[in-house]
Amino acid sequence: MMVTLHALAIADITVKSPTGPAWEFLVLFLVVIVGPPLLENARLPGIIGLLLGGYVIGPHGLNLIGAGNTTVPELGQLGLLYLMFVAGVELDIGLVRVHRRAVVLFGLAAFGFPMLFGSAVGFSMSWSAPAAILLGSLMASHTLLVYPTVREVGLAAHRAVATAVGATVLTDTASLVVLAFVSGSQLEGGSLASIALQVVLGLVLLGVFCFVALPRLVLLGFRVLGTDRVVRYLLAVASFLAAAAFAASFGIEGIVGAFFAGLGLNRLVPNEGPLMERIDFFGSAVFVPIFLVSVGMLLQPRVMVQAETLKLAALFILASIGGKVVATFSSKRGLHLSTKETVLMLGLTMPQAAATLAATVIGFNIGLFDQSVVNAVLVLILVSIVAATLIVERVKTEVPVPMSGHQGLGNRVLVALEEPGQAQAAFAIGASIAARDGGIVRGLLASLPAEKRVREASLKDLRRVGFAIGVDVDPTLMVGSSFAEGVVNAAAQLEPSFVIVGQRGGTDPAFGGPGESIAASIPSPVAIMIGEAARIRQVLLVHAHESSNDDPYDSVGISAELASRVGGKSVTVVSPGLAADLTPGQLCIAPAPSLDALAGSDPPSGAALLVVLEPPAPPPPGGDRWLVSLREARI
């Protein structure tokens, strides 16, 4: 159908039908604005609104954006790379480490069964081997589309949820590796051996580029150029484009590079950090919707309702959802999950969206799939999303919320400073602690009401200090007469995993000062930093004799963990007596029980002391750590 506004001429006034880039972008953005809310009002996922909107404005719909248009498909390609980068960068790699056995077990099943079933469907229809295998791989991936719903009800730390999230790293990586081989095999010319060598070499070099070189280059970029947040965002965008271009130069699809770049930068871009916020914002506002709209332009209801397409769609649904059902229920016993927990895991891993769509579009572009396959996959995507949403909505309230356990020490590090001079060392320590968990560091500067103007000017310096270390500490000013009260309030809001309290030395001893008040009032572990060290060259860990047990979360265990994170393998264990004689460049980490020997001794200029206080006892069963703690706050 063609909609044309004919030129309307009245006297000398001529009104023409709108054309050109402005008109195309207007139409595109109207779909992005209107499509998702319309579908969400009908209790359907917004993604469907974008796909349907793409159809409406596309060549098979109103033809507002015609078949010859290159702008939207090219922007869609950028959106596809963006989507895969975001999928990699926001995966919680920490969960893979924590639940590695369950993740590997379930990841293999969640990839293997749909891959097997999907390929079998392809072969059963006499498809060529590359087409059948690509079909299997696109069913083997999944998108954590309903994860936010699960996270909202406090199930993020549940073992079933964590396993499903961790398994996504495996399933999506494996699917994209299969895609790389299939698309590589379609290159013109070359022997089997040369193509194999090219793809394997390409994947190895891509891995080195994305997991070794890129994080270092980006970190360097953050430090040297990253004082501007726009530049930090552009560095992230440039990094996935570089990885995509690198992959393409070896005949590997760009989305593999973009996804690997996301995984490589996973720790440099914490999920809760300002950079991730920007990446998410631009992704969800522009790039990803445009990709989805460009896919919607491929929709052909005429093809979709054909018997052949519906037959294909039914087989795809059977293979994909059936594969995920077999994968989850075959893992149930091995993972010691209840039926409801297993169903929750199924709901999480059922939606087919990002990687599936990406692989399908690539299969279409390289001539392996025709319109009917694309339309059948779109039906599969629609059904899988709706079914997963219904399943998760039903079971999410029936699965018990896990008791808050010890979260990763570095998930959210709060650095509260009385003096800006301590920022260099405190932020560096905070960044080292956060790095292992891919966490964030937040800066807080105390100010008396009378000092507000002066201290506000210091915030810019604090931000610069953070950027020079490679982290965006997003410092805020805490105006009030009580430093301790301010930190407790901020902690109640941020729920940090660890707090570093920069405390004036000399007149403020480690004990009896604000740090101790804070530690007694919040559930997070707290360390008091005394002194200033522009550069930490050596980390000393004070050996404590009084550790009551082997709890890794008492002050002794936390001290050892901090020393390992800040100093790496070159940590020197010293006795409390020796720690009193610090030299410039040394950071001494001491658990509270060893403080008797240190009390009253300030480190010399250029050295710092980090005293780890005893964390509070775990909450009663079913109790919320933060609520319990705030009720008992005693400042």
Binding site: S128, A131, Q186, L192, I366, D370, Q371
Partner: protein
């Protein structure tokens, strides 16, 4: 597993039902229609014995992908082809641009070339601006979209002369009956390259046109041909054929031939 994937991937590059099914009119044979043989770079040889060319080789690749054993070539006047009279052929390969008028009688494949209309002149003729272009005597082939393009974009002082085929058009240019002709860029490049320095591709006009295979209206083969064209673009077949038959300069023509700013 990766090894198995590669073996499977490389073992079969012919089409599969996943990419559409091609049913030829004559079993085992791909029948293709075009207008001019020879057409430099695109159809070499004679109608009875085609020896090569970009579109002929493209037809052979299509036949191979569809599992057909041979290609049979027919000729028909361009005007009749774009009116939908394919003389019983499965498809037409003749540098055809899809237009809404032609879509009434033909189905078009996914485009295999994107080509700007390119001006070919005798060596020594410069076209620095639109005014110079308007002073020239223009020639075009009957039934092509170039008739409208010359009138709309250039607006010459004299109406363009219309010729029956490309060979006649180029001869008229060489014989100084006309000063400038409009051709698809690859054809313009190969025409200039083979003129022994007598002709040159002097300028390109804005708004590149798509070039696609034409099929009889309602053909059930469109999905298969679409998938094949996408595959040939993705795997480098189209680029390879262009380099071999049109010449290495074809790849850079888009950037090396100056753009003529037109009235639009």
């Amino acid at each position: 597993m990766l090894g198995a994937l590669l073996v499977a991937g490389c073992s079969d590059r012919t089409t599969s039902p996943a990419a559409g099914t091609f049913t030829p009119r004559t079993a085992g044979v791909l029948t293709v229609v075009t207008s001019d043989i020879p057409s430099p770079g695109f159809w070499e040889g004679t109608p009875a014995a085609v020896t090569g060319g970009f579109e002929y080789e493209l037809a052979r690749r299509l036949a191979k992908r569809f599992g057909l054993r041979s290609v049979q070539v027919r000729t028909e006047h361009f005007n009749r082809i774009v009116e939908g009279r394919l003389d019983g052929a499965d498809l037409a390969l003749d540098l055809i641009t899809p237009t809404s008028e032609r879509e009434r009688s033909l189905d078009f494949s996914y485009p295999y070339l994107n080509s700007a209309p390119t001006v070919v002149v005798r060596a020594g003729t410069a076209i620095p601006d639109l005014a110079t272009a308007q002073n020239l005597r223009w020639g075009v082939v009957r039934g092509t979209t170039f008739v409208g393009i010359v009138n709309t974009l250039v607006g010459p002082d004299h109406p363009p002369r219309v010729y029956d085929d490309t060979a006649e058009l180029v001869t008229a240019l060489e014989d100084r009956q006309i000063d400038a002709v409009l051709l698809d860029m690859p054809l313009a490049v190969v025409t200039a390259n083979r003129s022994h320095g007598r002709l040159t591709a002097a300028a390109q006009l804005p708004d590149a046109e798509m070039i696609a295979a034409a099929m009889p209206k309602g053909s059930g083969n469109q999905e298969a041909v679409d998938s094949a064209m996408r595959a040939f673009i993705a795997d480098g077949t189209i680029d390879h054929l262009l380099r071999v038959w049109v010449g290495p300069t074809a790849a850079n023509a888009e950037t090396s031939i100056p753009l003529l700013q037109t009235t639009r």
